[in-house]
Amino acid sequence: MTCAEFENIVHELARPDALDKSAAVRAKFHAQTCERCANRLAQAQVLALAFDEAAQDAERLEAPAHIESALVSAFREHRRSLERNRHRERRTRLRWLEWSALAAAAALLLAIGAWNFSRPRIEQTKRNGRAVVTNPVNSNANGAAPQTELVETVTAEGLNTDFVPVPYGESLSPDDSGLVVRVSMTRSALGSLGYPVDEVHAGDVVQADLLVGEDGLPRAVRLVQ
């Protein structure tokens, strides 16, 4: 063993069982043959002894009891604080869920209302004493131009028959709102509009509703009874 190798292990050599047996034997043999290394070993042993004394003295050293009490109290307070925070977070989450559910319900109601509002329907308004009919726009299965629907309404003037389309007229376009005009005419004039009339009463004057397009041409006629 060289002096450099000895110096590397001298402090372990000063402690029992810190080195394996063969290394300890070689090191001690070297110390017996080298005065400088023997002095180094003596110094290391003195230091190890001093450390042992200090370590034994320190065996009784520990933190005072009041620190344990304070820390256990702090631990319990921290745990309570965490539980309060968890409870608060749970309540906040539930509140968000409630508001989200309300918002979703409101949105659904609005959607239903909007859908209902946008559905086509027949409404009747009066303008200048004339009945104005807005006809629904429906196309038949073949996609042909929408036909005027025959409706039966009860008005203040009396019960009307269904509208009969004029034979030569075009049906109302989807954009055409149409106008119902009440007129007085002879039965024979009704006949020219395609309404069935018997010859006996051809000269009678009757009241009729004409469904007139925006172009002014009649599209249908009905008798006011």
Partner: protein, 207 residues
């Protein structure tokens, strides 16, 4: 170190994080002494050592969930926290800057007092106390990273591996710091370190 019948540190820490009082108390009782002694060796003041213990365990209570078993042991985690607190204390108090040889700072070793075993003479006890105080004073004069290694290995009996985990450095670093620290201590203690029992060079044993 806990025996096999006692729960491991990782188990105690896990239960602590779940709010178990008893687990916290067990963990504290198991580790407060090494932490206290380490802080005392590093600062030389019992009040500072108490403060370090309290702060280290308070930090553990608040941040114990950050412990990662893949990165080390719970003891190493706790020592890391304690070292940070010691470093802050040392930086804030210039009293703990390495001392000159003739400084008359009195180092009190906590509850240590003159103590001697049965059958020893008073002079042996006084010599023992003097040696203890000189060792503490010499250790306090070491640079902080050497002082840490000496505190754990030479004054508390940690092996190299345990000290390396506590200090968060490789085993080789612990060995080299210890070797250098011991050389410095031999130089400091040489004049007055008259051993109570002169070692026998033939046997080569110190104990």
């Amino acid at each position: 170190m806990p025996d096999e019948a006692e729960p491991r540190d990782e188990e105690l820490l896990r239960r602590m994080m779940g709010g178990d009082d008893d687990a916290f108390r067990s963990f504290y009782l198991r580790h407060q002494r090494p932490i206290y002694r380490f802080a005392l060796h590093m600062t030389g003041r019992p009040e500072s050592a108490e403060e370090v213990v309290q702060e280290a365990f308070m930090t553990l209570i608040r941040e114990g969930a950050k412990f990662d078993s893949a990165r080390g042991t719970p003891q190493g985690f706790l020592f890391g926290i304690a070292r940070n607190h010691v470093r802050r204390l040392v930086e804030s108090d210039s009293r703990f800057v390495p001392l000159a040889e003739d400084d008359d700072l009195h180092v009190r070793a906590g509850q240590a007092s003159l103590s001697y075993g049965l059958g020893e003479s008073l002079s042996d006890g006084l010599a023992r106390a003097e040696i203890t105080e000189r060792v503490h004073r010499a250790v306090l004069a070491l640079p902080a990273h050497y002082r840490e290694a000496v505190s754990l290995c030479d004054l508390q009996g940690f092996d190299y591996a345990a000290a390396a985990k506590a200090l968060g450095c490789p085993i080789g670093t612990v060995r080299s710091r210890l070797a250098r620290a011991r050389e410095m201590l031999v130089a400091k203690l040489r004049p007055a370190a008259a051993p109570l029992k002169k070692p026998s060079t033939a046997a080569g044993g110190a104990r």
